[in-house]
Structure formats: structure tokens, C-alpha cells
């Protein structure tokens, strides 16, 4: 789960990470008031959306007067900001963060992530902060410093000093960076984060280190013990179909092909898409109905897949372990009877109660194209699509 920059900064500030003075604003007057209360002569107005690359997309502006704060806020709020991560449609900006502007001497990168390799939290830092840190890591991996955290003791001060020294910090900055990194780690640990990133970590006028931009994402599986984080969830930033799917216990991701997929298990769902692609087809979506797929769940899966106008055919591929093929068949029959399904449906059932499920589908008299196995299913999908001339 992701949160906005202003929320991340408030959270980090509570742990002792230095951030610029600033507050969120929802309209022009609001923004001007925030700037006035912050004082100073220059402010940064930053669009708040859940996507990176905002600077490149024109979502970060420096204002030299309160009029400019108003002007930039007016431009940003209500606009669709397009960045390299939003897709062509962009993302609707509903609020801005107004901050005191700082003079930057140097920019560093600092990130924390769960590293699948070490199976631990890893700190990543670089003297090359700013936008193209992935390029830095690719081209000059030696400029990226890493430290792995032992969860029994947490991120130790000596590790932070090592990181600080290796990215070229000197004198008092080493101690300031150590304090900052340990605060960031405490926040990461306490709040079950999956990723935290300060980019840039800036050395501002006077030599102080400050988090000028910050991003965090949190473990959806830990939200039950994170009430404060859960409240920060912004459903406007999520695909409404994916939110609806999650509400029904389904895992759905929209893609740009025309073969709708309804599968159980993430691995089999991916493999089903792969089999379709192997036969030169294009999946319209990833959909995992999960374990214990009730007839209602199957019905909801159909509704969500069919809401995509590109879908020309649906492949249902179920290998029942804790699922049962008869439940799936019941859901299929009900969906066919209740919903206007104008596309052919290829069904492959296997596993628990497969005979019963197949009998139910046959006895229904409805027009299912039955497949014996995964290869047969992918072949029949492509043959049927070809027959339609699409």
C-alpha cells in the first residue's frame, strides 16, 4: 500500500527524520495560507499523486511570491499530471504540498528495501542522488553502497557511519546521517514497510541533511496491525476495478489484450497468460480467484473481466486443490444465466471434484467450450478467436 509524499514526511518527522517545513493544501487559498504561515521568500509547490517522476512531468514548481503559489496551485489541482510512471492518461491532482524552498549544495540517495537475495532489510545509498539513480546502479554499481540489517539487533550505528563515510559525508554530517538512517529504519520496522526511499537526501544551506522527497510503501498483509497507516489509504489513487476485485477477494490486474482470464493461484494465472502468449494470443488481464472460490466469487470474476470492452473470449482455468470444481461449475452456470455474456467461454477444469464439475457443465446445456488440459485450452482459445476473424 502506498501513501502520499506529505503523509510520508509527517510520518518520518515523527521518527526524527529532518524534513522541510510544509503542509498539504487542497485549494488555492489554502495553499497561500500555508505559504504565508511558513514564511520565507520561496516555496515549492508539489503535486501529490502516487507516482514517481513528478519533477519530469511538471508537477513540482518553485514559487517566488504568494501570487505564484496561488498560480501554481491553481494549475496543478484539478489537472491530470502525466509522468513516466502514470501512463498517458496521467493522474488527477487533488492536493499539493507547499514547502519552504531550500538551497541545495548536494544530493544523495537513501533507500531501504526488503532484499529477496539476503532475505533481510537492505540499506542502499549513493552520493549520486536525484532522478536517475537506477541508471547509476546499472552503469556504475560501485557508486551504490549497501548494508544488510540483522533483524535481531536492527540497523547499527557503525553500519550507518560506514554508509555515510562511503558516500562521502564528512565531520558532523556523519553523525547526523547516522541519526537519520536509524530513525528511517525504526519507522520502516515499526510500520511494516516494504520500501522507503529518500531521494534526494539533500545537504542544504548550512550543511544540514534533509529529506526533500520521500516515498514509502507498506505491507498489505500487515495492515491489520497498522491502524494509522490504514487510515492514510487513498482509494482515488487506485484502479477502481482493482479495488472492486480486492473487495471480492479477487486479485485482478488489467492488461491490454483480448483474452479474458479467470484462474486460481497466481502462478497458474501467470502460466495461463504465458501459454496464451506462447500461442501468439494476448491476455486481457491477470485474475486470481484464490482459494475457496464460491459461486458468487466466480460471478464477480466474470463481471470484472467483462467490464473490459476489449475482451473477445474468456478462458477459465481452474486446478482445484482447496477449491472444488463443482463450486466453480455452479458459479459458471449462474454467471452464464444471470449475465449478458456475449463472448465464447473456454473452460478447463482439473483437480478436486473435476468429474462432478464437468458433468454439471455438460448437463446445463449451455455453450461452454471444454478443454482437456492447458495446451488444449490455449489452442482452443486461439482457434475460436481465429474463427471470429479477430
Amino acid at each position: 500500500m502506498n501513501i502520499h509524499e506529505y503523509q510520508t514526511k509527517e510520518l518520518l518527522k515523527g521518527y526524527g527524520v529532518p524534513v522541510p517545513g510544509g503542509r498539504v493544501a487542497h485549494n488555492v487559498d489554502n495553499a497561500a495560507t500555508v505559504a504565508e504561515e511558513l514564511g520565507g521568500e520561496r516555496w515549492v509547490v508539489k503535486a501529490q499523486i502516487h507516482a514517481g517522476g513528478r519533477g519530469k512531468g511538471g508537477g513540482v514548481k518553485v514559487a517566488s511570491s504568494l501570487d505564484e503559489v496561488r498560480q501554481f496551485t491553481d494549475q496543478l489541482i484539478g489537472s491530470h499530471l502525466v509522468t513516466p510512471q502514470t501512463g498517458a492518461g496521467g493522474r488527477l491532482v487533488q492536493r499539493v504540498l507547499v514547502e519552504q524552498a531550500c538551497d541545495i549544495n548536494k544530493e544523495y540517495y537513501l533507500g531501504l528495501v526488503i532484499d529477496r537475495g539476503s532475505q533481510r532489510v537492505t540499506v542502499i545509498a549513493s552520493a549520486s542522488g536525484g532522478m536517475d539513480i537506477e541508471e547509476v546502479a546499472r552503469a556504475t554499481p560501485e557508486k551504490v553502497v549497501r548494508e544488510t540489517v540483522d533483524p535481531a539487533v536492527g540497523l547499527m550505528a557503525f553500519q550507518c557511519r560506514k554508509i555515510a563515510a562511503n558516500i562521502g559525508l564528512k565531520g558532523k554530517q556523519i553523525h547526523a546521517a547516522t541519526k537519520l538512517m536509524r530513525a528511517l529504519y525504526r519507522c520502516f520496522r515499526d510500520q511494516d514497510a516494504l520500501m522507503a526511499e529518500i531521494n534526494p537526501l539533500a545537504e542544504v544551506n548550512g550543511g544540514q541533511l534533509m529529506a526533500l522527497d520521500a516515498k514509502m510503501s507498506f505491507d498489505g498483509n500487515a495492515l491489520y496491525r497498522l491502524p494509522a497507516i490504514t487510515e492514510l489509504r487513498d482509494f482515488d489513487e487506485e484502479d477502481p476495478k482493482e479495488v472492486e476485485a480486492t473487495g471480492h477477494g479477487l486479485n485482478y490486474i488489467a492488461l491490454d489484450g483480448n483474452v479474458g482470464c479467470i484462474v486460481n493461484g497466481a502462478g497458474l494465472a501467470m502460466a495461463t497468460m504465458d501459454a496464451i502468449s506462447f500461442h501468439q494470443g494476448k491476455p486481457a488481464n491477470f485474475l486470481d480467484v484464490g482459494g475457496g472460490a464460491s459461486p458468487e466469487k466466480v460471478g464477480n470474476a466474470f463481471r470484472i473481466v467483462l467490464a473490459d470492452p476489449n475482451v473477445k473470449i474468456i478462458l477459465v482455468n481452474i486446478f482445484a486443490g482447496i477449491n472444488r470444481c463443482d463450486w466453480i461449475a455452479e458459479g459458471l452456470i449462474k454467471a452464464m444465466q444471470d449475465q449478458q455474456i456475449g463472448v465464447p467461454i473456454v473452460v478447463r477444469l482439473a483437480g478436486t471434484n473435476v468429474e462432478k464439475g464437468a458433468q454439471m457443465l455438460a448437463a446445463s446445456g449451455l455453450d461452454f467450450i471444454m478443454a482437456d488440459n492447458l495446451d488444449d485450452a490455449a489452442t482452443k482459445v486461439m482457434a475460436t478467436l481465429g474463427g471470429q476473424g479477430s
Binding site: G111, R120, R138, G265, G267, M270, D274, P283
Partner: protein, 289 residues
């Protein structure tokens, strides 16, 4: 011998009296698994499925000599249950739960260090040595005794591969689901090593997924250490690039953990790679015969 579980394994179930645990324990017992008891805190002294129920894993181990535990407790309590099993000296711990917080598993793995136990999962259908011992939720009837080891991250894709094998008359020595979570108990290398050392396994099918370095590390290990052939598949060629906010994940993994990149490297390292998931069985049949 098979790997990790066999007909002499003495299995307990943690969360024994719950609905799912009961259903799957009964199913395992019907398929020959020696379930010797279970643990449900607060229900110690009762009898369930004609087996004793204990309050703690230590009591269960002391009374029954259990050496394998199937953990069926819900995700928020799973990390504690795994550590309890580790502390009690259980050698093989199978964690079914899907949805354990990642940092819980980071701590579990630290706690497990030097404790010499195998943790299978989480987010796995479990492990089965056909007709001998099953700890998990997979449909037993698709598995047949045989001499091919199967190891996979995904559960349903494991079923898929096994059914393709069975259709061609190939059975399994043991099938291990190592689970789909980013931090999991046992990696591919550990399972490959066990299969390599097992005299009852002749060949291995390894099924991975996008994300993480595990499959490539396993292929590298196999090239250096394995005499038995390995057939491999990595799911997710057609998966969209993940939407992400920061760069940290990409810096860690680079571009090396896409499905195609992993399969290319595995192939270079001598794994017999299948590109079409519908042909896992067929490829194994061709390579292994």
C-alpha cells in the same frame, strides 16, 4: 528415502482443531500420513480425530516424538507458531498460511539460523511424498509414487506440472512447494541439494516465477553440484512490469529477474528450460527418458 518427509515421519498439526486443519489432517491420514497429534492452545488434554491435543508444541513433541509440523494457524499468528515449533526441535515445519507480513518472516529466518530445521512455505500447498506422507492442502489423488522430484514456488502450477507428468506415467519422489512469498523458509538450492542426495530421486522439475534471484542461484548451484538432470520453467513472461513508486527494488534486482532473463540464464547453466507451461510434462518425459 524421498526428501524431508517419508512414511516414518511423525506429524503434528498446529491449529489442529480448526475447520481447515481438521479437513486436511483427515485427508492426509486417509492417504497414509502418520499424524500423531496436534496443538491448539487451551484445548490440551482433549482428543481430536482420535489423536491427542496439546497446549504447546513442546508437550506434543515430548509425548508423541513428533518431528514434522504442519502449521494451519492464521497469518497474524504464524510467525509465533513457527518459532514455537523451531524451539521445540521440530525438524520439518510446513507453513500453509498465505498473507504473513514479510518482516515477520525476516525475523523468523533470523530465529531459525543455526536451528537446523527446514521451513517449507509460507504461502505453499505443502509437501507430499506420494502414498507415504502429505503435510498440506494439495489434492492427493493427482500425485503418484515415482522417481522425479518436483519443486515449485506456485501451488496450482505445481498441480499443473504434476498432472502433466502423471498423464505421461511419471511419478514423484517428493513434491515440495517452497511458497510464493518474497521471504520464504527454504530456497530452491536447499531442495535441489536434498534431491541430489536422495537415492530415490533420478531427476528434478523446478518451477519458478518472476522476481528475485532464487532460480538463477539454483541453476548455478546445479551446474556446479548436480549429476541429475533438471527441467525448469519460470512463470510470468507475459506479466506486466510491476507498478512501483521507488527505485530501491529495481536497484537490488536490476533487470535480471524477469521471467525471460531468468530462463535464458538457466538455459546457459544447463537447465532444460521449457518455454511453454503446457509442455512441462512432455519436456521432462523427453529429457528424462
Amino acid at each position: 528415502m524421498s526428501v524431508f518427509v517419508h512414511k516414518h515421519s511423525r506429524v503434528i498439526i498446529q491449529g489442529f482443531t480448526g475447520q481447515h486443519a481438521t479437513f486436511h489432517a483427515e485427508e492426509s491420514m486417509a492417504n497414509g500420513t502418520n499424524v500423531v497429534g496436534g496443538v491448539t492452545p487451551g484445548k490440551g488434554g482433549q482428543t481430536h480425530l482420535e489423536r491427542p491435543v496439546f497446549d504447546t508444541v513442546s508437550q506434543a513433541v515430548e509425548e508423541t516424538g513428533a518431528d514434522v509440523s504442519g502449521i494451519f494457524v492464521p497469518p497474524p499468528f504464524a510467525a509465533d507458531a513457527i518459532m514455537e515449533a523451531l524451539e521445540a526441535g521440530i525438524g520439518v515445519i510446513v507453513v500453509i498460511a498465505d498473507g504473513i507480513p514479510v518482516q515477520d518472516m525476516v525475523r523468523v529466518k533470523r530465529y531459525a539460523r543455526d536451528r537446523n530445521a527446514i521451513i517449507i512455505g509460507p504461502n505453499t500447498p505443502g509437501i507430499i511424498t506420494p502414498a507415504a506422507c502429505k503435510v498440506g492442502i494439495m489434492p492427493s489423488h493427482i500425485y503418484k509414487p515415482g522417481r522425479i522430484g518436483v519443486v515449485s514456488r506456485s501451488g496450482t502450477l505445481n498441480y499443473e506440472a504434476v498432472q502433466q507428468m502423471s498423464a505421461l506415467g511419471m511419478g514423484q519422489s517428493t513434491s515440495v512447494g517452497i511458497g510464493g512469498d518474497p521471504v520464504n523458509g527454504t530456497d530452491f538450492v536447499t531442495v535441489l541439494r536434498a534431491f541430489e542426495e536422495d537415492p530415490e530421486t533420478d531427476a528434478v522439475i523446478m518451477i519458478g516465477e518472476i522476481g528475485g534471484p532464487q532460480e538463477v542461484e539454483a541453476a548455478r548451484w546445479a551446474k556446479a553440484n548436480m549429476s541429475k538432470p533438471v527441467v525448469g520453467f519460470v512463470a510470468g513472461v507475459s506479466a506486466p512490469p510491476g507498478r512501483r513508486m521507488g527505485h530501491a527494488g529495481a536497484i537490488i534486482s536490476g533487470e535480471s529477474d524477469t521471467a525471460n532473463a531468468k530462463m535464458d540464464t538457466m538455459e546457459e547453466l544447463g537447465v532444460h528450460v521449457v518455454r511453454n507451461p503446457a509442455l512441462i510434462g512432455e519436456t521432462a518425459h523427453r529429457v528424462f527418458s
